[in-house]
């Protein structure tokens, strides 16, 4: 038996996910995992999550049955995000996880779409996406091997209820070997080097450990007490400061997370099986709380309730995430806005990276350095992506949207934009959360068209290209029509307790 102990502080989603991942990675005789649950509301997303495809890989690595998980978390299948009225008034675009068109003669598909666009073609880019066609028709299905071998895919993720998801993670972790202690932190016991020796609880109980996880949400109770801790605000990079969350009835379809612009900021809805989370993120400089509340209530179609108040949000990140023997996870590490964002991905990516780097046997100085570097890079690229969404949101130009063109961008985002504008090429970056294809379809679907097409398409047979692309669209809509009705397949697939 080892005496090596990992201690998690927190009682929200990030804490339970961390506990489940750690107990899954390490058997009890290797590393003992203890969770101290303060039993208070953690400042972190807690209602619903709109997952990325990585979510399913996480479940697979934990050997969690997706069917049972879906039954237990009021989950729906997610094929992508629906940008309603985003880049152009009246235009809807579905940004699916799966591919758009297929490569022709060794040249990326989207170059052909660019070519046709330059010739005056106005076909919506998502006509080439099976996911988009399926979502529009409220259809879903698992493609058979033949179709997959032909290059079709229908990648999906899930929308899940976060409180139920936390419960499930808790069950998984406890079943493995998690020990749970209830109690609130009074103070930290630090050693001379600034490492945490123990959490001293208000009850007087002392919880010692070798490594500590701050999963206390944006209060970041542990890391903020460590020497040199610093929070870097993104008040210029993501200029929003308020959020209103409302829960309404089930949506007509669960296949897409919806996004749309509004005067003060943007609206997002995450459809679960039995309810929908509606959120409005805004900047109070451009919209009063009252006006925002009215807009949110109209959007959600619910009654006004005093219980719901705008939340203050502070987008930003810690300068370092892994300091000494303490790691900030989830909202304790960084706060992104609810815009094409998955809190579960944010948490899981953090804890999996930790597992990839942690050594129980010795020092972790270089691991910590590496963790901080990779996470900074990852966050920077996520920030780029969120900023790109804001830049593309041209359907509204008043209020909040009058400031979006002035948002300072990273050199990497600027490079992506200029290179794409020039000839539809996507700049390469390490440690991206979104694959190149996702960036390309986001750009084209939101009418960010390059000035020129790939030189290799010069002199190609235009008539043949038109024909081939027409066939692709036809195949997609035929295939989509053959899929199952969304409700029917969800009913069969998700296993209810």
């Amino acid at each position: 038996m080892t005496s090596h102990r990992l201690v998690i502080y927190g009682g929200g989603v990030s804490a339970w996910v961390t506990a489940a991942a750690l107990t899954n990675a390490y058997t009890v005789d290797v590393l003992k995992v203890v969770l101290v649950n303060p039993g208070v509301n953690t400042k972190e997303p807690s209602i619903a999550d709109s997952g990325f495809t990585s979510l399913r890989r996480f479940h697979a690595s934990m050997r969690i049955s997706e069917r049972e998980l879906m039954g237990q978390t009021s989950a729906t299948f997610k094929l992508g995000a629906l940008y309603k009225n985003w880049s152009k008034p009246g235009q809807n675009f579905i940004h699916g996880f799966s591919n758009y068109g297929s490569m022709l003669d060794g040249i990326d598909f989207h170059q052909y779409a660019v070519l046709l666009h330059q010739c005056g073609d106005t076909t919506a880019f998502d006509a080439y996406s099976l996911a988009a066609q399926a979502a529009a028709a409220k259809k879903f299905g698992f493609l058979n091997k033949d179709l997959v071998e032909q290059g079709f895919n229908l990648d999906y993720s899930l929308h899940v209820d976060l409180s139920q998801y936390s419960q499930l993670m808790q069950t998984c972790a406890v079943r493995k070997h998690l020990e749970v202690i209830c109690g609130q932190l009074d103070h930290l016991n630090l050693d001379a080097d600034g490492n945490i020796k123990a959490l001293v609880l208000t009850s007087g109980e002392v919880v010692g450990g070798d490594f500590f996880f701050d999963c206390s949400g944006s209060d970041s109770v542990l890391v903020r007490q460590l020497p040199g801790d610093k929070f870097l605000k993104w008040d210029k990079e993501l200029p929003v400061n308020k959020q209103i969350d409302l829960v309404g009835g089930a949506a007509k379809s669960g296949l897409c997370t919806d996004l749309s612009v509004c005067r003060g900021g943007w609206l997002k809805s995450i459809p679960l099986k039995d309810k929908t989370l509606y959120s409005l993120t805004y900047n109070s400089e451009y919209e009063s709380d009252d006006a925002a509340m009215t807009a949110a209530i109209n959007f959600a179609g619910v009654e006004l309730s005093d219980a719901v108040q705008p939340l203050t949000i502070v987008p930003g990140r810690r300068e370092r995430f892994w300091v000494k023997n303490c790691l900030a996870i989830g909202a304790a590490a960084g706060n992104f806005t609810e815009l094409t964002f998955s809190y579960l991905h944010h948490v899981q990516s953090g804890v999996l990276r930790f597992i990839d780097l942690y050594s129980a046997a010795g020092v972790n100085d270089f691991s910590a350095q590496q963790y901080n570097q990779l996470t900074s890079d990852e966050y920077a690229r996520v920030l780029d992506y969120q900023q790109l969404n804001l830049l593309l949101g041209a359907a509204e130009s008043s209020g909040f949207w009058s400031c979006t063109s002035k948002i300072p961008r990273t050199a990497e985002l600027q490079r992506k934009l200029s290179l794409f504008k020039e000839r539809g090429k996507l700049a390469f970056e390490e440690y991206e959360t979104w694959m190149p294809g996702s960036w390309v379809s986001l750009l084209l679907g939101n009418n960010y068209w390059p000035e020129k097409h790939d030189v290799l398409l010069n002199g190609c047979n235009l008539e043949l290209v038109v024909k081939r692309l027409g066939q692709m669209r036809m195949v997609n809509s035929n295939l989509a029509a053959q899929l199952s009705d969304e409700d029917e397949i969800l009913g069969k697939y998700a296993i209810l307790k």
Binding site: H4, A25, Y26, T27, D29, V30, L31, S61, G106, I355, D356, L357, Y358, S359, A360, A361, G362, V363, N364, D365, F366, S367, Q369, Q370, R415, S418, L419, K421, E422, R423, K425, A427, F428, E430, K452, D454, V455, L456, N458, G459
Partner: protein
């Protein structure tokens, strides 16, 4: 838009880089109104001295529709599964850096962590025994890998030893068939437009060849990129101090090895590359630590067969052109940068430059963002290969010669220092997507040259000692049996020389299908 299209492409220099570029452009631009001219002079020798390649070359050939059997026959090729490094970590050491994996990932954790746990217990064998390409290569065996990922035969890939001069001739025919025009002659003058772009080159004969786009494959001299455009060169010889080579081919003698040899010497290293008709030999050295005569003597005294030609001397400065693409000129091959052939990367770097050139193929406006991206990506490739090469020199305990004292004590690039520190701390290999050498390669060199971690991934402790021992024995036995089944390299070469069938699909990867 049509008037912006490039019409005249001029390639300066034949050799491997020139003809690979010509062939690829001719292939990708066929049926599009481009004229491609390649200027080379029979009077100027090429550097090609018999080359060891990487598996990526198979992808290049496949893309161009070149039949592999035909290619092998045309270049007197043999198969290659890796490189054997001798005397690098210390005198008497040897390890093979394979085109493939070690063991297999278990429960999401890389094999070398399991190996390390046993190693710390004083158990287990050298990590060589857990890699099929290493075991098979050491036994001089070869057969095509399989694509079925469940099979141990999918854990490696292969490349070739080729006669680079013959490859250039082969590609010349290929290119000329697709309409590339070859001009014989030496460039004596280069004419520029007001904006600095190159407008034409003048040959000794007086002929003037104009173009919209120039590709400089003129080798070390960089006739266009440097002599004309003064692009500048980043010198890396403080990290990679070798600056000369002497090479000489010899008659076949002894076994036809399915791997390249790189044997460390007192002030550099020797290569041995087995082709079907001869053996390529060479000695890369640093002139500050050894004289040309001594370097040549070292080479001569280590050549097995009879010498075919007189030894040829080369001089170089390791480094990279500041911009591979400057104005309307792209430098491909030695004109773009030089990294010694320790890891057989020369042809790979040519290939990558060509692939990226095609991806960012310009029009007459030479879009700025595309050119910048090309240069950024090429820089990344060169830098990452460079750091991997530096590792070979720096990770050494040799103290028998001033050259090795220098290498052992020199300061290395920060990124490499960080990578090595992470591996030493807990066996972590830094992952990246934009680069050639991935985890198995780093593990091979680290462990092969005595960079041993002080801890491993604690996840592997889920196994009991006896489970671990059993698993390790099983993997070792599996690989041993697999190697036993494989035919001898020379037998396989004879039997499969003309066969096109059975060759697996090529990938842009150094390793097998599983990676």
């Amino acid at each position: 838009m049509q008037e912006e299209q490039i019409k005249q492409i001029v390639i300066i220099g034949g050799g491997t880089s020139g003809w690979m570029t010509a062939a690829a452009l001719a292939h990708f631009l066929k049926n599009k109104s481009y004229a491609i001219t390649l200027i080379e002079s029979e009077a100027i020798g090429t550097v090609g001295v018999g080359e060891a390649t990487l598996p990526h070359l198979r992808f290049f050939n496949q893309t161009l529709g070149i039949d592999e059997a035909e290619f092998m026959a045309a270049t007197n090729a043999t198969y290659k599964m890796g490189i054997e490094f001798s005397n690098w970590g210390k005198m008497g050491d040897a390890y093979i850096h394979p085109f493939g994996e070690y063991g297999r990932e278990i429960n999401g954790v890389a094999f070398h962590h399991y190996w390390l746990r046993q190693h710390f217990q004083g158990l287990g064998k050298s990590i060589d025994y857990y890699s099929l390409p290493v075991v098979a290569a050491a036994q001089q065996k070869f057969m095509f890998p399989m694509s079925d990922e469940r099979s141990v035969f999918s854990t490696y890939s292969y490349a070739f030893h080729i006669d680079a001069g013959m490859y250039a001739s082969y590609l010349r025919k290929y290119s000329e068939n697709l309409g590339v025009v070859r001009e014989e002659g030496k460039v004596v003058a280069v004419n520029q437009r007001d904006n600095g772009e190159i407008s034409s080159v003048q040959l000794e004969t007086g002929a003037v060849i104009g173009g919209d786009f120039f590709i400089d494959c003129s080798g070390f001299r960089g006739v266009l990129i440097e002599q004309t455009l003064k692009t500048g060169y980043e010198n890396w010889s403080h990290w990679l101090p070798c600056n000369r080579a002497v090479a000489a081919p010899s008659e076949l003698d002894g076994a036809l090895l399915p791997y390249t040899k790189a044997i460390a010497q007192v002030a550099g290293w020797r290569w041995r590359i087995p082709l079907r008709h001869r053996t390529g030999n060479g000695h890369v050295y640093c002139s500050e630590f050894i004289t040309d005569q001594d370097a040549c003597d070292t080479l001569m005294s280590n050549i097995d067969g009879k010498l075919i030609a007189d030894p040829k001397f080369l001089q170089f400065t390791t480094g990279k052109r500041k911009k591979a693409w400057n104005k309307n000129c792209v430098a491909i091959g030695l004109s773009g940068g030089f990294l010694e052939p320790l890891e057989s990367t020369s042809i790979y770097l040519i290939q990558i430059a060509i692939m990226k050139l095609i991806e960012f193929f310009p029009d007459k406006k030479f879009d700025l963002a595309g050119v910048d991206e090309f240069n950024r990506l090429m820089d990344m490739e060169y830098l990452r290969v460079r750091d991997f090469l530096i590792l070979h020199y720096h990770a050494t305990q040799r103290n028998d010669a001033p050259f090795w004292d220098y290498c052992r004590n020199m300061s290395i690039p920060d990124e490499l220092a960080h990578k090595m520190a992470l591996f030493r701390e807990r066996g972590h290999v830094v992952e990246y997507q934009g680069g050639l050498f991935l985890e198995p390669s780093w593990v091979a060199v680290y462990l092969g040259q005595g960079v041993v971690p002080s801890a491993y991934d604690p996840r592997v402790n889920w196994m009991t000692n006896s489970q671990l021992e059993k698993t390790m024995l099983e993997i070792e036995a599996l690989i041993d049996r697999a190697a036993m089944q494989m035919p001898a390299h020379h037998v396989f070469l004879e039997q499969h020389q003309a066969k096109t069938n059975g060759r697996p699909r090529a990938l842009m990867s150094l390793y097998g299908g599983r990676q």
